[in-house]
């Protein structure tokens, strides 16, 4: 079984506070993992570690075979992260934003059209980001992740701020990613929404994985 994520005794300190405290985690390629836990449990820090954005203070972590401490660029190039911030340029249109991220990732403009279509934003492609509603921004941010065609999707509260149609789009995107051979990790408080999709459910609290459950019938088994 190929592993997408291997975390061993990971410690990440944020201002000397252990956001991750000797966390262990192993996830196979092609899995959909739900990370649940209370606020401040370390869910976002874990996603940031796996994206190569948080510094490992001790322990080790490998993402898709790359060491997050020594091969950050390869890790970052392989993952797509949806964070609470849109990570989009306000003065550019959605299309211009996606084209920019596609160009940086070495993808063609065909990826832009496909991503826009996937989040049902083709009609709003020329709208500047600053004119979008919260839900539209979320969709555009999702498209910006999709356009990079990541091998590991890290989604932080992906359903937040979305209407019913938008939530379905998120679920469909997760399904598409799995069918394309990617791995998806979702940090969410919307357990009823994500749980049916998940093959792994991880409960994080105090910077460690308290409970790990492997489920049958998630997206990876669909």
């Amino acid at each position: 079984m190929d592993l997408a994520v291997e975390v061993d005794q990971a410690v990440v300190l944020l201002d000397r506070f252990p956001a991750l405290a000797q966390l262990d985690l192993t996830l196979p390629v092609g899995s959909v993992s739900l990370i649940q836990g209370p606020n401040g449990a370390g869910k976002t820090t874990l996603l940031r570690l796996l994206a190569g954005l948080a510094t490992l203070d001790s322990g080790s972590a490998r993402v898709l075979g790359f060491d997050v401490a020594t091969q950050r660029r390869q890790v970052r190039a392989s993952v797509g992260m949806l964070s609470p911030d849109a990570m989009l340029y306000e003065d550019l249109s959605i299309d211009e934003n996606l084209s920019f991220w596609a160009a940086l990732g070495g993808h063609g403009t065909d990826a832009v059209g496909a991503a826009l279509e996937r989040v049902a934003m083709t009609g709003a492609a020329d709208q500047p980001v600053r004119s979008l509603s919260t839900g539209q921004r979320r969709r555009a941010a999702l498209a910006a992740v999709a356009v990079r065609r990541p091998r590991l999707w890290l989604l932080d509260e992906p359903h937040a701020g979305l209407d019913q149609a938008g939530r379905t789009i998120v679920d469909d995107l997760i399904g598409d990613a799995i069918r394309a051979g990617a791995t998806v990790i979702v940090a969410s408080h919307e357990l009823d929404r994500v749980r049916p999709l998940a093959t792994h459910v991880l409960t994080v609290a105090g910077g460690v994985v308290h409970r790990s459950e492997v489920r049958e019938g998630g997206s990876a088994h669909a």
Binding site: A51, G52, L53, R72, R73, Q74, R76, A77, S78, V79, G80, M81, S83, D85, A86, M87, L88, Y89, E90, D91, L92, E96, F100, W101, A103, L104, G105, G106, P128, A144, R148
Partner: protein, 221 residues
């Protein structure tokens, strides 16, 4: 090179839309030139002889604002994190950012040159030298500025510290550019091309150091 152009084009497009540099930084440059003129107007020959120095001090002020704007484009909406996640080589992002800053500075300098002709009655004795020196100095300022801009972000310090970090590094560029303009505007008898060569060396040095250091900052930040 596709990534370099993509970053530069993106920054210039954002400026075209927001017009922050055009509507705020450019008027600031003109105001500073006018204020220098008012302060030294008692003696027009003094003003003319000080023109190269006044011009480049103003360019440095303008450069700080332009670089802060270039940095704020990335820090807003966490786009800087997205850049780090893009997987693009750090030097390419650096080159694109510096290219956009240089293009904006050159446009402002063109207006400022017109300003010193009108306000200070300066004349170009060697236009080729003036343009070449301006190009080399601008590249040096843009590359050093783009590096220090991202350093300020990486260090988590406020952008108000940027002038303190950047101005000492750019002091040699200020001196060399002023001397080159002294020759180009015939305000002093110096070998402007020798100073211009020095400017080119600074530009090359800052570009190389910037490219390497930016990648390190982008990766480690």
């Amino acid at each position: 090179m596709r990534e370099v152009w993509a970053v530069a084009r993106k920054d210039l497009r954002i400026e075209w839309r927001s017009k922050v540099v055009a509507s705020q930084v450019l008027p600031f440059a003109v105001i500073v030139l006018v204020l220098f003129g008012l302060a030294l107007d008692a003696d027009r020959s003094t003003l003319r002889s000080f023109t190269p120095g006044l011009f480049w001090v103003t360019v440095l002020f303008v450069a700080i604002l332009t670089i802060q704007r270039s940095v704020s484009i990335e820090t807003a909406s966490s786009a800087f994190e997205a850049l780090r996640l893009s997987g693009a080589a750090g030097w390419k992002i650096f080159a694109g950012k510096a290219l956009a800053v240089a293009a904006q500075l050159l446009a402002i300098e063109a207006v400022m040159l017109l300003g010193v002709v009108v306000l200070y009655r300066s004349s170009f004795e060697d236009p080729v030298l003036v343009v070449t020196a301006a190009l080399a100095a601008t590249v040096a300022i843009a590359t050093a500025g783009s590096l220090y801009g991202v350093l300020a972000v990486g260090m988590g310090v406020r952008d108000t510290i940027l002038p303190m970090l950047l101005l000492p590094i750019l002091a040699p560029v200020l001196v060399a550019a002023t001397r080159a303009f002294d020759d180009g505007l015939s305000t002093a008898a110096v070998n402007g091309w020798a100073w211009c060569s020095l400017l080119a060396c600074f530009a090359l040095l800052y570009a190389i150091i910037g490219g390497v250091a930016y990648a390190v900052v982008l990766e480690d930040a």
